[in-house]
């Protein structure tokens, strides 16, 4: 987990927002993280910015999940908006060029 992810999680820590997306049911798991990230999470707890180290990790993972979700949505929307015939022509054009490359650059 990255510092940026932890920070991204921290950005949503106004208590009311924080609790909205949080499930009451929790799964216990054991993870190992880099010492500086553990220290950072503990600092946040000590400063009253997060209720627990678990909450820091939970929020960081949630931020990552939301970023992945947004990325998937944008790529999916692109596919929905593309002109399939145009994409097919582009693909055929690329494939024809690939087929003409020397074998060294075509296969592994």
């Amino acid at each position: 987990m990255t510092v940026a992810a932890l920070r991204a999680g921290r950005a949503g820590w106004r208590p009311q927002e924080h609790d909205l997306g949080r499930s009451e049911r929790k799964t216990r798991l054991t993870v190992t993280i880099d010492p500086h990230l553990a220290a950072y999470a503990e600092q946040l707890v000590e400063a009253g910015k997060a209720p627990s180290v678990s909450a820091v990790v939970n929020d960081a993972l949630e931020a990552d999940r939301l970023r992945d979700q947004k990325a998937r949505r944008l790529w999916k929307e692109a596919a929905e908006h593309a002109d399939p015939e145009k994409v097919a022509r582009m693909r055929a054009h690329v494939d024809a060029q690939l087929a003409a490359l020397p074998a060294s650059h075509r296969y592994r």
Binding site: D68, A71, H81, V94, H105, R106, Y107
Partner: protein, 146 residues
């Protein structure tokens, strides 16, 4: 060769022009890339080309698109891993006159012996013979636009 003895396609190296258009939300380019990924075509994303795309379009959507690119099943980022690679990148910049973003593309393509996927064939045509081994590239274009 793959484990079952069949030939696997060589990875395609995505250059800055492709990543810039993807980050801008070009539906055709993004769909083409997704199609190759879905078909099991390995895609390599030089991180310096990602930098170029991120510089071109400074937005959260562009950031998410570039993030999503790396998450495609058959895509893999190519980093500048250490000082040796950074020095080699500088050598490619010096020899080709390419900017550092596409020089990284060239360095990866040269080292991996893979073709470059580009929207700017003219750029690579000029530089194709600047390194010890020729660079090979394929251009994304719609013949229907001609």
């Amino acid at each position: 060769m793959s484990e079952d003895g069949g030939a696997r396609p060589a990875p395609l190296i995505l250059d800055a022009s492709v990543l810039i258009e993807a980050a801008r939300g070009h539906a055709g380019v993004m769909t083409l890339i997704q199609g190759y990924d879905a078909d099991g075509q390995p895609l390599i994303i030089p991180v310096m080309a990602v930098t170029a795309a991120s510089l071109d379009t400074r937005s959260e959507d562009a950031e998410a698109i570039l993030h999503g690119l790396e998450r495609l099943k058959n895509a893999m980022a190519a980093p500048v891993r250490d000082a040796e690679q950074a020095v080699r990148l500088a050598a490619v910049v010096a020899r080709t006159g390419l900017d550092p973003y596409d020089a990284h593309v060239a360095a990866v393509a040269d080292a991996a012996v893979c073709p470059i996927l580009t929207l700017d064939a003219a750029k690579w045509r000029e530089r194709a013979h600047d390194l010890d081994e020729p660079l090979h590239f394929v251009e994304i274009a719609d013949p229907g636009d001609a």
